[in-house]
């Protein structure tokens, strides 16, 4: 740039930006709801590793199989022994398999949100027509749906098996319906808690450990305290202690309203009055995690 060019100033209407002939886009604009739906379906597929590398398919698929195999075995046993009832209630199944469910939400919640934070793709999403609420809703709905698929699939296996074994239709359908309601609530609750924790850290590994710590430590602490309270004869305290961990919340709720047998020590679930508190706590937690996520993404990495 050492040489100075003599600048000839063109005069009048000769100054214009050249139109070099690119066409403008005149196709349909699919808009906000389409972008939200795409984000939802991509996140849902991503939760099972579809559209990602083979390595990231291994864990979710493995956990899915681990969820379903015991149900298949139970059905096989029920058919072979000509039992009049399934060995496990529909509502009880998710409580038994809670370790697998916790592992799934712990591994997939950070996968869903932490990587967006770490690779700074969140601003790119928000440069599209979607807004904060759309992003949060799409991610929340995707993880909750993925969890619902994980928890409802074994129930379907049980139900189909029960019908094939010619167990009582009305009885089984009622139990199946109650089971579905309970796992739907469980999916929403777990997905909300997992996403709130995972959205705080951009480190995937750390998010996994934090989610699993909250899930298992709270359950371990609560069930220990319940066992001690039960052994000390203060059984009335058992339901109130159960309010402090996600698994026991779902357990208490379904034994109060969905006809489940409680896994609490002494097998005494909360009464109807206490059950209302459980419902309020579950719904409150779901709403709170939605609110926290909205607050989290109001200003993020921008």
């Amino acid at each position: 740039m050492a040489v100075e060019h003599p600048v000839t100033v063109p005069s009048g209407d000769q100054t214009r930006i050249h139109n070099i002939g690119y066409r403008t886009y005149d196709g349909p604009r699919l808009g906000r709801s389409y972008a939200t739906r795409s984000l939802y379906s991509q996140s849902l597929r991503g939760a099972y590793g579809l559209g990602r590398s083979v390595k990231s398919k291994v864990l979710p698929m493995l956990l899915f199989v681990v969820m379903c195999v015991p149900a298949a075995i139970m059905v096989a046993v029920a058919v072979a022994t000509k039992a009049h009832d399934l060995p496990v209630d529909y509502t009880r199944y998710a409580i038994i398999m809670q370790a697998v469910i916790s592992l799934y939400v712990a591994s997939q919640a950070p996968q869903s949100v932490s990587r967006d934070l770490r690779f700074k793709t969140v601003p790119l999403y928000f440069s599209r027509p979607i807004e904060t609420a759309d992003y949060v809703r799409a991610k929340y709905a995707a993880l909750a749906s993925a969890m619902f698929i994980l928890t409802a699939a074994p129930l379907i296996v049980l139900y189909v098996g029960a019908l094939l074994a010619k167990l009582d239709f009305a009885d089984q359908t009622k139990g199946f319906g109650q089971g579905l309601v309970s796992v739907a609530l469980l999916s929403l609750l777990f997905a909300g808690i997992g996403l709130v924790i995972a959205s705080v850290t951009p480190r995937r590994g750390f998010g996994i450990a934090a989610v699993i710590a909250v899930m298992t430590i709270s359950y371990g602490a609560v069930s220990t305290l319940q066992a001690i309270a039960d052994a000390q004869g203060s059984s009335s305290a058992v339901p109130w202690i159960g309010l402090f961990s996600p698994v026991t919340l779902i357990d208490g709720l379904q034994s109060a309203f969905l006809g489940a047998n409680s896994a609490f020590p002494g097998a005494v679930g909360p009464s109807n009055g206490e059950g209302v508190v459980y419902v309020l706590a579950v719904l409150g937690l779901i709403a709170a995690s939605y609110g926290l996520l909205m607050r989290r993404y109001k200003k993020v990495g921008l």
């Binding site: 697998v100 995937r204 750390f206 699993i212 298992t216």
Partner: protein, 239 residues
């Protein structure tokens, strides 16, 4: 074999910013629970043993071990900044050994110390229970840290695999299949604790000589192999 600079960097990565808070929350919870239990039940050896065995040794020590063990090296490999460390004239086994020492120290401080305090609160070290479980936590800290540090160098999904081992293998399979207990860090450390406590409250399914040999073998092998992995580390892309 020990490099202070690597140690300082690892401490910062493990305890920097909010991470120390989360690591500290678990032990705090344990102590709060033991205060509540002591207030509800009073000093009872069986309760103390159940709580320390079930909550502290079976859940808290492995989780802290996973966080410290994989956190000592995992994130660095994950974001690729480990190349700056590897390009320095420090032997790779030295790096692994230093990170192992740090991981062990962090796991011990955040798991064994609260176990001791919780034990003292629960029954004032009656029948040596608090000391026994503290020894178990100390011993298992070493094995867990070495094991999970190795996982951190082998896989990008180290945390998940570590948790699957700690929660599914040790807790679930360990209670169903008797053979799985022989291959469980928790049982090995319980064998050591049994020796310390002497009574029937702390029991293990593995004999002390077997447990000691397995503990030493696992720790040494894992550390050696992690060093080998780091010597031939290739940085892959995301996933």
């Amino acid at each position: 074999m020990y490099d202070p600079t690597v140690a300082r960097l690892t401490y910062r990565a493990l305890l920097g910013r909010r991470r120390a808070l989360i690591l500290g929350a678990l032990p705090l919870l344990l102590i709060v629970i033991s205060v509540i239990v002591r207030a509800l039940v009073g000093a009872d050896d069986q309760t103390a043993s159940d709580l320390l065995g079930g909550l502290a040794l079976a859940t808290m020590v492995p989780i802290i071990g996973v966080i410290a063990g994989t956190g000592a090296i995992g994130p660095e490999i994950d974001d690729g900044s480990v190349v700056y460390l590897l390009s320095k004239p420090v032997k790779r086994p030295t790096i692994i050994f230093t990170k192992l020492i740090v991981a062990i120290a962090v796991t011990m401080v955040f798991s064994a110390l609260p176990t001791l305090i919780a034990g003292l609160i629960l029954n004032g070290n009656g029948q040596q229970i608090a000391v026994a479980y503290t020894v178990a936590a100390l011993v298992s800290s070493i094995a867990y840290a070495a094991l999970f540090l190795l996982l951190g160098t082998v896989s990008r999904h180290a945390v998940v695999f570590g948790l699957v081992y700690a929660l599914v293998w040790e807790a679930l399979f360990g209670s169903l299949v008797a053979g799985a207990k022989t291959l469980s860090v928790q049982q090995w450390s319980l064998a050591v604790a049994h020796k310390v406590a002497g009574g029937d409250l702390v029991t293990s399914d593995v004999s002390l000589p077997t447990a000691t040999v397995l503990l030493v073998v696992v720790t040494v092998l894992a550390t050696w192999y992690a060093g080998q992995k780091l010597r031939s580390l290739t940085l892959a892309g995301e996933e």
